[in-house]
């Protein structure tokens, strides 16, 4: 028998998602919470179209766009970090991770400024149904960004100490998967809450 060598890097080759299976179960559970929240938003809006349309105008769309760009960029950086460790390049991997974390930090700063603005106007969860959803959804997501940064931070530290290699890098992929999930949620949240009317 002759063995055939083919490049499997891009063809269908695996049954398991990258990273630890446990994180994926966690990701699915988290995604379902957000899914319920999104659907609840849409159906509540159905009965309060005017209210939602009116107060949506008060949101800061520009910040939302910037935040979308930071998250997408940071997700991209994480992809590059995974690619780097697969080439056994620790240093590069750490640098990409740090870049990703800084983008996450930028997100937090921009979002905090938005919150400061709203709170300064005396807006809170009880102001009206639209703000209730806006604040709940974005804040729940906000907490995930922070959580994701902590995870990426832990991965970066371990990577810096040479804890990963081209052979064993499950941890990097685990952190990456979680971070992409945070991005993914925002990609729906942004148009739904800020744009669609």
């Amino acid at each position: 028998m002759q063995e055939q060598v083919i490049d499997t890097s891009d063809v269908l080759h695996d049954r398991h998602p990258p990273g630890d299976l446990a994180i994926w179960i966690f990701i699915l559970a988290e995604l379902s919470v957000f899914a319920v929240f999104f659907a609840a938003y849409a159906f509540t809006r159905m009965n309060n179209v005017e209210l939602f349309n009116e107060f949506q105008q008060h949101l800061d769309r520009q910040s939302a766009l910037l935040n979308t760009l930071t998250l997408i960029t940071s997700s991209y950086f994480v992809v590059r970090a995974v690619a780097a460790i697969k080439e056994n390049n620790h240093k590069l991997c750490v640098n990409w991770l740090l870049a990703a974390i800084s983008m996450g930090f930028l997100f937090v700063v921009i979002k905090s400024a938005e919150y400061a603005h709203h709170f300064g106007e005396g807006i809170n969860l009880s102001t009206n149904t639209f703000y209730m959803f806006y604040l709940s959804l974005t804040f729940f997501h906000f907490m995930h960004v922070i959580m994701g940064m902590v995870i990426l931070g832990a991965v970066a530290i371990k990577a810096k100490n040479g804890g990963y290699s081209d052979i064993e890098h499950t941890g990097v992929e685990t952190g990456a998967s979680y971070w992409h999930m945070v991005d993914l949620v925002w990609l729906i949240l942004f148009p739904l809450v800020y744009v669609m009317r």
């Binding site: 179960i25 559970a29 919470v33 929240f37 969860l125 959803f133 709940s136």
Partner: protein, 463 residues
């Protein structure tokens, strides 16, 4: 048993089972009073019996948790308990306090008990599950602190495992949230608001951590599966528990005067609370399927799997049933709630304690790994009797609850509470019969500790 000091667990387990028996006896009295209003009146009024039933439940679960901790922490830490003496001392304080409190409930009217124990100095009494006199509550705090100190020091000087740390986190949380039992504002909204921090954040928060770690411990022992695999599961179960359970408290904030957003927060987050329970079920069956050895204690494995299934049914399924605010609008405080309360408490916390007792007791009593076949067969019979009886109690109460909600709250001509109660009495009779079956199971359970003592240990079946 690897460490001598583990033997203090035995005291706690025995007392727990005795209180369990008392709890069920009073359950039967309550069940009968539901259909024969003046049964035992005026000697044991419904409200007193109810306090004994629920408080005995809580206290025996706490005792068994402590026993479990005293058993598994030395083994996990690979060191003797920091102070066995302190553990024994605390046991007696706890037992005497519990005994006096129950006697107080039964012997004097509740208001007199409040007066006698100086409730007016620091009023904490009169709220469901927290009816204990203030001095009893203080006693509980002392016992809990000494217990945490003892367990914490043991872990500190020994090996630190994930199971140990999760258990410690759960037990600490248990103590911390109990402190809200001392906060008793006159504003009823605030009162209820924080009351749930004890009740809900216990059973749907920190107790779940305790449940998870005990289950993980027993599964490691009976299946021989790698610790690493089990720890990974524990992590995600805990994370999911906390994410859903903490904000899930909102499912009690629908109608008590709290802001409207709780309708959404409570509904959405608590609707996800079944997920960690479901993970636990998958986890337990997975581990048993991947087992690396056959453990001769088949009863313990049965209890462990039973816990995983019944906790999911009672907490997950029956909890979900009434957790969305539009549903809870109708079912709030009905027999549906009682159905759920019974199956959830039994499936999660009664069964996990019976699991660890089943695993540890034979070892504490000098066996190598397991009881004799005969004793295990009795125990497994009691498992099925009690579990099936609890399923029936739950189903009958659910039937009663559906009718009650319909007649009293949904029908075009809603009827008054007591009129409806009369119409659903049949279900209460059936519940009482199922309760008798439960009691039968409990008798078999207790008997299983006495039968087959002189027979040889069970060995792994060579089938």
């Amino acid at each position: 048993m690897t460490y001598k000091s583990q033997s203090v667990a035995k005291l706690y387990f025995i007392a727990a089972i005795a209180l369990f028996a008392a709890q069920i006896l009073f359950g039967l009295i309550l069940g009968l009073q539901y259909v024969m209003g003046d049964f035992l009146f005026p000697h044991i009024p419904f409200n007193a019996a109810r306090m004994v039933h629920t408080n005995a439940l809580i206290v025996w679960l706490l005792m068994a948790f402590m026993g479990a901790a005293y058993y598994l922490v030395p083994e996990e830490s690979e060191t003797e308990l920091f102070s066995p003496l302190l553990a024994i001392l605390m046991f007696w304080i706890f037992l005497v306090a519990a005994g006096l409190t129950v006697a107080g409930y039964l012997l004097v009217p509740y208001s007199t008990l409040a007066e006698l124990t100086g409730n007016d100095l620091l009023p904490t009494m009169g709220r469901e599950f927290l009816e204990q006199p203030t001095i009893t509550k203080l006693g509980i705090v002392v016992v809990a602190l000494a217990f945490l100190f003892n367990i914490g020091m043991t872990i500190l000087k020994g090996r630190k495992t994930v199971i140990n740390l999760v258990l410690l986190l759960g037990l600490t949380g248990l103590a911390v949230f109990f402190l809200f039992a001392f906060y008793n504002p006159t504003n009823v909204v605030l009162d209820k608001y924080f009351w749930w921090w004890v009740v809900h954040l216990w059973v749907e928060g920190v107790w779940e951590l305790i449940l998870g770690s005990i289950l993980a411990f027993v599964l490691i022992k009976v299946t021989g599966v790698d610790r690493e695999v089990i720890e990974k599961w524990l992590y995600i179960i805990i994370a999911m528990t906390l994410i859903t359970g903490i904000i899930g408290t909102g499912h009690h904030y629908f109608w008590i005067g709290t802001p409207e957003y709780w309708q959404w927060w409570g509904s959405i987050f608590s609707a996800m609370e079944p997920i960690p329970f479901f993970m636990m079920t998958v986890f337990a069956f997975n581990m048993v399927n991947k087992r690396r050895r056959e453990h001769p204690n088949r009863a313990a494995t049965l209890w462990a799997l039973g816990t995983a299934v019944m906790a999911f049914l009672g907490a997950g399924v029956w909890g979900f049933l009434h957790t969305l605010s539009p549903v809870n609008y109708y079912t709030h405080g009905s027999q549906i709630t009682a159905a759920h309360g019974h199956m959830a408490f039994y499936g999660a916390y009664v069964m996990i304690n019976l699991t660890i007792i089943s695993y540890a007791m034979p070892l504490l009593r000098g066996r190598n790994a397991a009881n004799s076949n005969k004793s295990q067969i009795w125990e497994m019979w009691s498992f099925w009797l009690m579990t099936i009886a609890m399923v029936f109690i739950t189903l009958f109460l659910t039937g009663a609850g559906i009718l009650q909600v319909y007649l009293q709250r949904v029908a075009e001509n809603p009827q008054p509470f007591m009129v409806v109660q009369d119409q659903i009495a049949l279900f209460y009779w059936l519940r009482e019969i199922a309760g008798l079956m439960f009691f039968g199971g409990l008798v078999v359970y207790i008997a299983s500790f006495f039968v087959g003592q002189d027979e040889p240990e069970a060995t792994v079946a060579q089938s």
